[in-house]
Each structure stands twice: as structure tokens, then as C-alpha cells.
């Protein structure tokens, strides 16, 4: 116990007192409340049992992965090698990124054009720009910061033509979004083992879809890929990944629903090693970063997946529609597992995903990939220049 212990105990005491108070309250209230409460409470019995079945075990079974019996993991599902259509090239993907961004995010570009249309910039125009950045989910402080930076740069440059101002602003924005990060997704096979990639994130951001698309992108680069369906919690998540695997012609390792995700992760890496594949992509269950038990589980998946070597990439999938909470998510996830990159998903909508600027800034974790839709090829490498070019198009 460290110095915090007294704080912990204080809080416990408060909590205990709270329960005490509640107890008294309940007992007092039970007199008249009992009659009302007991009736509806009795009814739900029917649904109670199945509900409990779905309850996610907070405490992860401690079974060491090596002890996992064969029955738990039905083994590798070697997918039928149906000839699949050829995945799109990297160049094509980049073009698509530019195209999509230009289409969906015109408003920022418009404001930029408006702001920088004259030789001077009015305060109102700056305010409009700041508002637009805020509406792109950059957050108040980031937006203010950017506007200040741009103001400064414009002042320094002494530029007076609209084109020059536009250019300066663009350069500044690119600099800001780029940040000089290394954005390679490390998927090269090591001499003795496959590269291991883990996708993590909160519920519904598109982890499974991203994993499937990534598998397709990698196999387009002539890599042998193996998928691990370590989302053993959500109904039909493993099937969803298997469907992706079949589409791309990639084998999937899966466990029974409700089995230990860490053991599935381990089996996936082991199978990858045995079959000498280049990359093992492991899809994990969505979890809210506020659920300690589930975050612990994720930590375990990470540790166990790294037992036969190491995990090369931990990709955090962030939904472009996410607002300022994205930063909290990124912070908490990177406390539990060393996040090496961010995937910005669902950028094909009207959402602008500005939160990634704050995430990159705060955590130094670069955005590596961008998801652009539900199509199998709708995943592109992130490129700051393209991104900003798209914004300003």
C-alpha cells in the first residue's frame, strides 16, 4: 500500500457510511415500499437466468493458456480458398481517401476559403474558423490553439494575398496534423515468428470490420495473414470475423462464445507460428474504458498474446463520430496496453474525426489507418498531407 492508502480508506469509509445510510433508508422505506416493489421484482424471473448468462465475467479465469484444452478451441477454421477479388492497391486507397474527405468535409475547406479570401482577416473570420474547428470535434482548447498559431504565422509571414495566406494556413495545419510521426503499421514477419497486431477499442467503433479490412489490405501485399477472434463476448462477433476471413481467404482461429479471450489470442499466435504466417491479427471485444475488470482482461490478452514473442502493434480504433471522450478513451487504453497507433473509423460520414489531433498531441500516438466505409477496401493509410488536402479541397 502506498501513500494513497489513507485516501483509499477514507473513501471506503465514506462508501461504507453511504451504504449504512442507504440501509437505513431502505429499511425505513421498506414498510410501505415493500408492497409496491415486491410485485414487479418477482416477475422478471423469466428473463433473469438468460441475463445472467450474458454477464461478462469480471474476473478472468486464471487458467494458463498452455493448459487450454483442445476442446475449447475448435482449432483453426481453414477457410475454403474461394478465389477472392483482388484488393485495391495502396495508391487507389489513397486516392479514395482524398476523394472521400473532399466530398464529406467540404465545410472546413469552405471556411478556409472564406477566411482567406481577402488580403486581411477579420476577427469574425477567425472566430468562424475557430467555430468550424470546434464543430469538427477538435475541442475548444485545440481549436483556440490552432487559430492562435495560424494568426501568428500569418502575422509573421507578412503575406497579404489570399493565396499566400491560404498556403500558410495549409502548411501550418499539415504540420499540426502530421507531427512527424512514424505511421508505418509494423506487420513484417520477424525471423522466428509472425508479427502480431491487436485491435482494441470501445464498443461499436468498428474493430472487427477494421481487422477484416486490414487482413485484406495485408493479403493484397502478398502477406500470409491469420485472424484471431478474441472477441468471445459479443454475440456473433467471431462469425462476423470469419465472414471477413472467408471473403479474403484468410484462416480464422476462434474459441467458443464466452471462452477466455486471452487463450484464443494465445492459440492464434501459436497457430500463426506453426503455419509460419507473416501476420497474426487479433480482434478483441469492445469494452468501455470505464470498466476496470474488462480493462484488466485486455491487459491479460495483451500479455498472453505476447508470450510467444511480442505484440508488435496495438491499434486503438476510434469512431470518427466520437467527441471529446475519444481523448479519455485513448488515455485509459494506453495506460492498460501500449497503444502504438490509432485507426480512425467511419470517416465516410459527416463526422470529421477532429479528436485525433488532440489524441496525437496528448499521447504522441499517431493515426495510422483510416476507415472509410463498409466496403472491403475502405481502409487507407493515414497521410497528413492527404488528410489536410482533403479538408481544404
Amino acid at each position: 500500500m502506498n501513500l494513497d492508502s489513507s485516501l483509499v480508506i477514507s473513501i471506503l469509509v465514506v462508501a461504507a457510511l453511504l451504504v449504512a445510510v442507504l440501509a437505513i433508508v431502505l429499511v425505513r422505506a421498506s414498510g410501505d415500499k415493500n408492497k409496491k416493489v415486491s410485485a414487479p421484482v418477482a416477475q422478471p424471473k423469466v428473463s433473469q437466468a438468460p441475463a445472467q448468462a450474458t454477464e461478462r465475467p469480471e474476473v478472468v479465469p486464471q487458467a494458463a493458456p498452455s493448459q487450454v484444452t483442445e476442446s475449447e478451441i475448435p482449432g483453426t477454421v481453414e477457410s475454403k480458398q474461394v478465389p477472392v477479388d483482388v484488393p485495391e492497391s495502396m495508391e487507389g486507397r489513397k486516392l479514395k481517401l482524398r476523394d472521400r474527405l473532399g466530398r464529406s468535409q467540404g465545410s472546413l475547406g469552405q471556411v478556409f476559403r472564406q477566411t482567406f479570401s481577402g488580403s486581411t482577416i477579420s476577427d469574425d473570420a477567425w472566430q468562424d474558423l475557430e467555430d468550424t474547428l470546434i464543430m469538427a470535434d477538435l475541442g475548444v482548447s485545440a481549436a483556440t490553439g490552432i487559430v492562435e498559431t495560424l494568426k501568428e504565422a500569418v502575422k509573421k509571414s507578412g503575406a497579404s494575398t489570399a493565396d499566400a495566406l491560404h498556403e500558410i494556413a495549409k502548411t501550418e495545419l499539415i504540420k499540426l496534423v502530421d507531427g512527424g510521426f512514424d505511421r508505418t503499421v509494423h506487420t513484417d514477419r520477424h525471423p522466428d515468428r509472425p508479427a502480431v497486431v491487436l485491435t482494441v477499442g470501445v464498443n461499436g467503433t468498428g474493430k472487427t470490420t477494421t481487422t477484416g479490412k486490414l487482413a485484406r489490405m495485408l493479403s493484397a501485399q502478398d502477406k500470409d495473414v491469420l485472424l484471431g477472434a478474441a472477441d468471445t463476448f459479443r454475440a456473433a462477433a467471431a462469425e462476423q470475423l470469419t465472414t471477413w476471413g472467408d471473403r479474403v481467404g484468410v484462416p480464422v482461429v476462434r474459441g467458443a462464445e464466452g471462452s477466455d479471450p486471452a487463450s484464443v489470442a494465445f492459440e492464434s499466435v501459436a497457430a500463426g507460428q506453426e503455419q509460419e504466417v507473416d501476420v497474426v491479427l487479433i480482434d478483441t471485444a469492445g469494452r468501455l474504458h470505464t470498466k476496470q475488470g474488462l480493462m484488466d482482461e485486455l491487459g491479460k490478452v495483451y500479455r498472453v498474446a505476447g508470450k510467444l514473442g511480442a505484440v508488435d502493434e496495438v491499434l486503438l480504433v476510434i469512431d470518427a463520430t466520437t467527441g471529446q471522450n475519444g481523448l479519455t478513451q485513448a488515455k485509459v487504453f494506453s495506460e492498460v496496453v501500449p497503444v502504438t497507433g490509432v485507426v480512425l473509423s467511419k470517416l465516410d460520414g459527416t463526422a470529421k474525426g477532429g479528436i485525433i489531433v488532440a489524441i496525437q498531441d496528448a499521447l504522441g500516438v499517431p493515426v495510422k489507418l483510416v476507415g472509410l466505409g463498409e466496403g472491403p477496401d475502405d481502409l487507407a493509410p493515414f497521410d497528413a498531407t492527404d488528410f489536410v488536402a482533403g479538408l481544404l479541397a
Binding site: 483509499v8 469509509v13 440501509a23 450474458t54 475519444g326 467511419k346 463526422a351 479528436i355
Partner: protein, 500 residues
């Protein structure tokens, strides 16, 4: 839920409190703070503008300047406006006069429609309905399978004639489903549709067709509580092109500030009907705008807390314990241990304490608590003999050394625990002596406790919290005294009413 927003607002209001009169610049300052707080909470900019303009207008009006305590008045205004935006009255599901009642779920990808469909079905079953789920999400790989599993878990019939994965026509499925439901006498039909982007006109057309076919009594827009500024676009398009009757907010168990709720409610003018707060089928509740507004204003959410306690606490134990307190018996370590176990059953400490009024300020500290520390405290208590637990006075040096050894802790840890515990015991006694809990004046203040809390924290301040410890402690104490200020009377009185 909205804790972070309430943090900010209460910080703003703290500056206001104590001022006898508000100048216009004070009001501007407050409104600016509210603006930033709302923006940081992901409330959409147009909504924030409108909201702030209304607050300012009312704040400048006579109701504030004439009020005894203008700061209080602003809090009241913000509260009222928040409740207004969040949907006014709590709204229930409208059931059709001629069954089946049809409920259509729509929203973006990953908002949580399929999961919600299961929860809704389970909820309706507990009310004696015979719901049926319709798998009209034929887009996402294995969405149909997921719905089937969800249906199994909730014991509900799932109408899924098409395999999905891009095969089948959702409009046709819906048409057949309606016939099927009438034949089999299901009184509620829940249609789960594919997630779609508001700019995808093809899919939006399809949804409109599904709606025309289903003729739903309730079209629910499912929105992720973590959504940012884009919530406006989504809400606008769905409301305009499809037409919605109410909103469901999902993933409220996260710590997102949930500004999307405000945005969507403002833009659509439709109430938020349900809140989805977890992954279990039962993590589903009716949305209470008034409670949510109280929460935003750092007035806590005692009603929810009490409801939760009612569901989870062991009745026998609580009764025994309550009697004990009433009889003025000592609060022992055995009781303490039981309490802790009960608390754990109720979920995370953070979540629970967050619901207490005035606690938002402390939230950061509470969040820093490693739940494993609780294990350690339990270990210490478990290492005591039953006699020691009943009578802490027994604990001399050698006993303490033994306990430290037994629990793998230091003697100093045991000492800290015992010190705090003695304080707690005294507080318990006071509470009992007060005759009754209502005797604790404004309950949320828990006056006995908070100052203690502060005192207690001081020794622990040391190394780990960076910065200036003295300053921090001073700040904390300032906060602790201020937060439960008697001004926030609404919820306390609700609580007291509940006690009577």
C-alpha cells in the same frame, strides 16, 4: 455520466457563490464558462449558442437581479433549461391500440441497435408483452446471427428469414414480419435495421421504405452517448428524412460527458426515452431528464443510487445493520467488511460515489483509487481475529505486527486503517445519536463526513500527488466545504421526502 460537465459548471458557480449581486460582466463570464463547458462536453455548437443566449437573456432579466442570491438563481435557470432541453417530462413507450405495436430502431453503425433490440425485448417481456424481433439488418456481416443470439438470451422470437451479409431485402423482410406477427399474436414487434450514415441516400431511402412498410408506432433513433458534434447532423437528417418519435441514448455507462443528449434533444425536439447503461440485457433504464439535469448541476443522482441499492443490497443484512445503528451499537470492522462487499456488488465505487451530490469535485481523487487497494484493506481485516474485529482496542503493537505480517502489509498500513476506522466509528455513533438519518441536515452535504474526509486526506497527501501539496489540500478543503452548499436544495428535499 455527465460528471465532467457538472465538474465544470460547479467550478463556475463556485466563483459566483457568495457574490451579493451580479453585474453584466459577471453574467458574461458565467455564460462563457458554461459555453466552454458545454462544448467540451460535446454539445453541438449551434445548440450551445442557442442555450447560452437563452441563459444570458434570462440571467439579465429581473428574476435574477431581484433574487436574494443571484448565483443560486442562475443555477436554477440552467437547471430548468437543461431539463427543458432534455425532454421535459419522462415519456413512456406508446403502445398501439390495435396490436402489434411496432418499434423501429434506426441509427448509425455501431450505435448499439442490435444490443438495444435485445434489451428492449427483455424489458417488454418483464411487463408481460410478447415481443418479436425482426432481423432487418441484412448489411453487416452476421448481424442476423447476433440478433438471433440476443433473442435467445432474452427468450424472444426472432423473425429472420434472410441470412443477411448483404443477401435479402429488408423491406420484404419487414412486410413478412408484420404478417407473421399478426398470425402468431405477438403484441410488440421490434425491427432492428442496419446502421447507416445520414449521407448515404440509398440506405436512407431504404430505411424510409422499411418504415413505410412497418408503419411503426415508435421510431427510435439510437445515439451513442460518446458522439461528438456530428450528433446534430445525424439527428437532423434522420428526423427530416425518416421521422423519429424518440431517442435512445446508449453506452451511458462510459464516462462520456454525453453532450450528444442535449444536442439531439434540442435538434429533434423529441424526448430521450431510454438510456442503455451496460452490456447486460438488464442494463437498460427509462431516461429521466430531471435526474440527468440534477447530475449536470452536481446535485447528484440519489434516486438512481437508491434504486440500485434496493436491487443489490442484501435485505436481511441491511435490516440487521440498520437496527444495529439505531440501537447505538458500535460499528465494527465486521460490519465494515460486509459493507465493502455490498459496495462491490453494487458496481464500481467511482460510479456510485459519482451519483452523490457534491461528489463530482472529488471525482478525480476517487478515480485515482486502485480497486485493488480495496483487496488490501480486506486482507488486513481478514487477518484479524473475530475478537479483534469486534473490539479494535485490543490491537496492541504485537497484534498489529502479526496482522501486518498476515496480510502482507506494513504495520503503518494497519495503523492508518485503524485511525480512519475509529473516525468512522465516531461518525456512525453521531449519526445514530442524531436519532435518525434525516437528522443529518441536508443529507447530500453529509456534514459529518466531508470535513472528516478532508482531514483524513491531509496525511496522505505527500509524494504521489504532484504539485504543491499545501495548496492542493487547501483547494480540496475549500471544495469540500463549498460543494455541499445548502443552496442545492431540490435533491436533498427529495431525499428527505423519501426518508419520511
Amino acid at each position: 455520466m455527465f460528471a465532467s460537465l457538472s465538474d465544470r459548471l460547479s467550478a463556475t458557480f463556485k466563483q459566483l457563490r457568495g457574490k451579493g449581486r451580479l453585474t453584466e460582466s459577471d453574467i458574461d463570464e458565467t455564460v462563457r464558462e458554461i459555453r466552454i463547458a458545454l462544448l467540451d462536453a460535446d454539445v453541438a455548437l449551434p445548440v450551445v449558442r442557442e442555450f447560452c443566449a437563452r441563459i444570458k437573456e434570462r440571467a439579465l432579466g429581473s428574476e435574477v437581479s431581484a433574487a436574494l442570491n443571484p448565483a443560486q438563481q442562475i443555477i436554477k435557470i440552467v437547471n430548468e433549461e437543461l431539463i427543458g432541453i432534455l425532454g421535459g417530462e419522462t415519456r413512456r413507450l406508446k403502445l398501439a391500440k390495435n396490436p402489434p405495436t411496432v418499434i423501429l430502431l434506426a441509427g448509425l453503425q455501431g450505435a448499439g441497435k442490435t444490443t438495444l433490440a435485445g434489451k428492449l425485448a427483455a424489458h417488454l417481456r418483464t411487463q408481460g408483452h410478447q415481443p418479436m424481433l425482426v432481423a432487418a439488418d441484412l448489411q453487416r456481416p452476421n448481424a442476423v446471427d447476433q440478433l438471433k443470439i440476443v433473442g435467445e438470451q432474452s427468450n424472444t422470437v426472432v423473425f429472420a428469414p434472410e441470412p443477411g451479409n448483404g443477401v435479402g431485402d429488408p423491406v420484404q423482410v419487414t412486410r413478412d414480419a408484420m404478417k407473421f406477427a399478426k398470425d402468431k399474436l405477438h403484441d410488440v414487434v421490434i425491427v432492428d435495421t442496419a446502421g447507416r450514415l445520414s449521407i448515404d441516400s440509398e440506405l436512407m431511402d431504404q430505411l424510409a421504405k422499411v418504415k413505410a412498410e412497418a408503419k411503426p408506432d415508435e421510431t427510435l433513433l439510437v445515439i451513442d452517448a460518446m458522439t461528438g458534434q456530428d450528433a446534430v447532423n445525424t439527428a437532423e437528417t434522420f428526423a427530416r428524412d425518416i421521422g423519429i418519435d424518440a431517442v435512445v441514448l446508449t453506452k451511458l455507462d462510459g464516462d462520456a460527458r454525453g453532450g450528444a443528449a442535449l444536442s439531439v434533444a434540442t435538434i429533434t425536439g423529441k424526448p430521450i426515452m431510454f438510456a442503455s447503461t451496460g452490456e447486460k440485457l438488464t442494463d437498460f433504464e427509462v431516461f429521466h431528464p430531471d435526474r440527468m439535469a440534477s447530475r449536470i448541476l452536481d446535485m447528484g443522482d440519489l434516486l438512481t443510487l437508491i434504486e440500485q441499492a434496493e436491487q443489490t443490497l442484501d435485505k436481511d443484512q441491511t435490516e440487521k445493520f440498520a437496527k444495529k445503528v439505531k440501537d447505538g451499537e458500535d460499528f465494527t470492522l465486521t460490519d465494515f467488511m460486509l459493507q465493502m462487499q455490498q459496495i462491490r456488488k453494487m458496481g464500481s465505487m467511482t460510479k456510485m460515489l459519482g451519483m452523490l451530490p457534491g461528489m463530482a469535485e472529488m471525482k478525480k481523487q476517487i478515480e485515482n483509487v486502485d480497486e485493488r487497494e480495496i483487496d488490501r484493506v480486506e486482507a488486513i481485516i481478514s487477518s484479524m481475529t473475530p475478537a479483534e474485529r469486534e473490539d479494535p482496542k485490543l490491537l496492541n503493537g504485537s497484534r498489529r505486527a502479526r496482522i501486518a505480517k498476515g496480510s502482507g502489509m506494513q504495520v503503518s498500513d494497519v495503523n492508518t486503517l485503524m485511525d480512519r476506522f475509529v473516525v468512522a466509528q465516531k461518525m456512525m455513533k453521531q449519526m445514530a445519536k442524531g436519532g435518525s438519518v434525516p437528522g443529518m441536515p441536508p443529507m447530500p452535504g453529509m456534514p459529518g463526513m466531508r470535513p472528516q474526509q478532508k482531514k483524513v486526506q491531509k496525511p496522505g497527501k505527500g509524494a504521489k500527488k504532484s504539485g504543491n501539496p499545501a495548496k492542493r489540500a487547501a483547494q480540496d478543503s475549500g471544495i469540500e466545504y463549498e460543494a455541499p452548499s445548502a443552496t442545492l436544495t431540490e435533491i436533498p428535499s427529495a431525499f428527505r421526502d423519501f426518508l419520511k
